[in-house]
């Protein structure tokens, strides 16, 4: 009797596990595909709210906070430095990250400063084999053609984070990488002049 009961319980749990194994991926997949899209949407809503209500230094600080919580800035900075990352010391890396963060915050608050009623329509999400999802979106303008924006979203331990934004095919990270690489090559292949330049710009 007892044995039978145990057997029944075991069978049931096995069935449950089997069912879970079949059903769970189905349940999980749409969620993980929806998450990057949700992230992009949230960022757009947050940024539009900031641009509407705040100005000047206050706006820049708020944008910086949005960048820090939703963008994978260390990853982006590292990708922008490319192979030169390896020759940088720990102290240099920390200074570089801080300078790039300030530069990005300033750049984005400038860009969003031109806000004139545009809306962001998030489209299809394409998961890539390397763990990065590409979120397509269109920035609809009040006058003129819509602008094509693509967001790359990566899963991190702290949740999904944006790692790159492509405007009409132009990747922000790739452009920075080219820019930094050329600067380093024209300054004796050293990282120090670039960091000094970025810090000088950040202090301005």
């Amino acid at each position: 009797m007892l044995l039978l009961a145990i057997r029944r319980v075991m069978l049931r749990s096995a069935a449950a596990v089997a069912a879970a194994a079949f059903i769970l991926p189905v349940l999980v997949l749409p969620v993980s595909a929806a998450e990057p899209a949700k992230l992009v949407d949230t960022v757009a809503v947050e940024v539009i709210e900031i641009v509407k209500t705040k100005t000047g230094a206050d706006r820049q600080a708020s944008i910086r906070r949005v960048l820090k919580t939703n963008f994978d800035l260390p990853y982006m900075a590292r990708a922008a430095l490319g192979t030169h990352w390896n020759q940088a010391s720990e102290a240099q890396r920390a200074r570089f990250l801080a300078a790039v963060e300030t530069a990005e915050a300033r750049a984005y608050s400038d860009r969003f400063g031109q806000y004139a009623g545009q809306t962001l329509a998030v489209g299809k999400v394409t998961p890539r084999p390397n763990g990065i999802s590409v979120v397509d979106s269109l920035l609809n303008q009040t006058n003129g053609q819509p602008i094509k924006l693509q967001w790359e979203v990566r899963d991190t331990p702290g949740g999904p984070r944006i790692t790159d934004v492509k405007v009409e095919g132009v990747s922000m990270v790739m452009t920075r990488r080219s820019d930094f690489n050329s600067y380093i090559q024209n300054h004796g292949g050293m990282v120090e002049p670039l960091i000094a330049e970025l810090e000088a710009r950040a202090a301005r």
Binding site: D110, T175, L198
Partner: protein
């Protein structure tokens, strides 16, 4: 006689082989590694930077201020009309490219647009065709070459800074020349013995101001947020062109895929 003829033929063939090789080198660009995707191939960087600094001087002193005035002071409808007019003059070249790209139906739509806008749209000042549902496309020979060249679209041959025009590369520079040669309006002005420098000058000038007025924000942003503006622009230009060509290829691939399926259905 025969010998001399053979000699000529051999000579001609050699000549064409050289031309083809040169063209292939221009289109194929750097064969070593994946330079196209990460770093742009720029073997003539020093002269390019020199032209770039000249262009920038002219831009800062004359073109950008004019573009700003145009953007901020000319009424919006007038700007739209100028753009429509310039776009309309460009339609035949787009149609020719679409034919070469193997998209005859798209070329027909473009020509229909041209005819509608040139007549009902008052020589192209109003874009009536779009209201009628004929969508506008813009093609150039650079895109056409890029579509057929079997290399990744980031690889457009060596990077080239053109005086007065701006960033380009071997592929797009060749395309620009081809578009110029086949442009019916350029040929017409020759044949009608119109003072073509005035016409071409006016058209080119308007194109520059119109294009510059639309890129003020993007270029200012790029300049302000880069430590090496030349390198940043080189990268951005290459990526943007590659994106356009990639769209072109993907569309063609979908279409050919559909055609293949249609053929299968016919066989069945």
């Amino acid at each position: 006689m025969v010998v001399s003829l053979t000699k000529t033929i051999v000579h001609r063939m050699r000549h064409s082989v050289v031309v083809i090789a040169a063209a292939a080198a221009m289109v194929g660009g750097c064969a070593s590694g994946d330079t196209g995707a990460t770093e742009v191939w720029d073997p003539i960087e020093t002269p390019n930077r020199f032209i770039f600094s000249l262009n920038r001087t002219v831009d800062i002193m004359a073109i950008r201020p004019m573009a700003v005035i145009y953007r901020d002071w000319v009424p919006e409808p007038a700007q739209t009309s100028v753009r429509n007019l310039l776009d309309n003059l460009g339609e035949p070249v787009t149609a020719i490219n679409e034919v070469v790209q193997g998209d005859a139906s798209r070329a027909a739509t473009t020509m229909a647009r041209f005819l509608v806008n040139s007549t009902i749209g008052v020589v192209g000042l109003f874009d009536v065709a779009t209201m009628l549902g004929l969508e506008r496309t813009k093609e150039d020979a650079g895109k056409t070459i890029g579509m057929y060249a079997g290399v990744e679209p980031e690889n457009g041959g060596f990077y080239l800074m053109l005086p007065g025009i701006g960033p380009s590369n071997a592929r797009d520079g060749t395309g620009l020349m081809m578009d110029y040669l086949v442009d019916p309006f350029r040929i017409l002005t020759f044949n009608l013995a119109i003072d073509w420098t005035v016409y071409q000058g006016a058209r080119y000038g308007m194109n520059v101001i119109d294009y510059r007025s639309r890129t003020i924000f993007a270029l200012d942003d790029l300049e302000k947020n880069s430590v090496d503006y030349y390198a940043a622009l080189r990268s951005a230009y290459t990526q943007n062109r590659a994106e356009l060509i990639r769209q072109k290829r993907e569309k063609t691939d979908t279409k050919s895929e559909l055609e293949r399926r249609d053929n299968l259905a016919l066989v069945r």
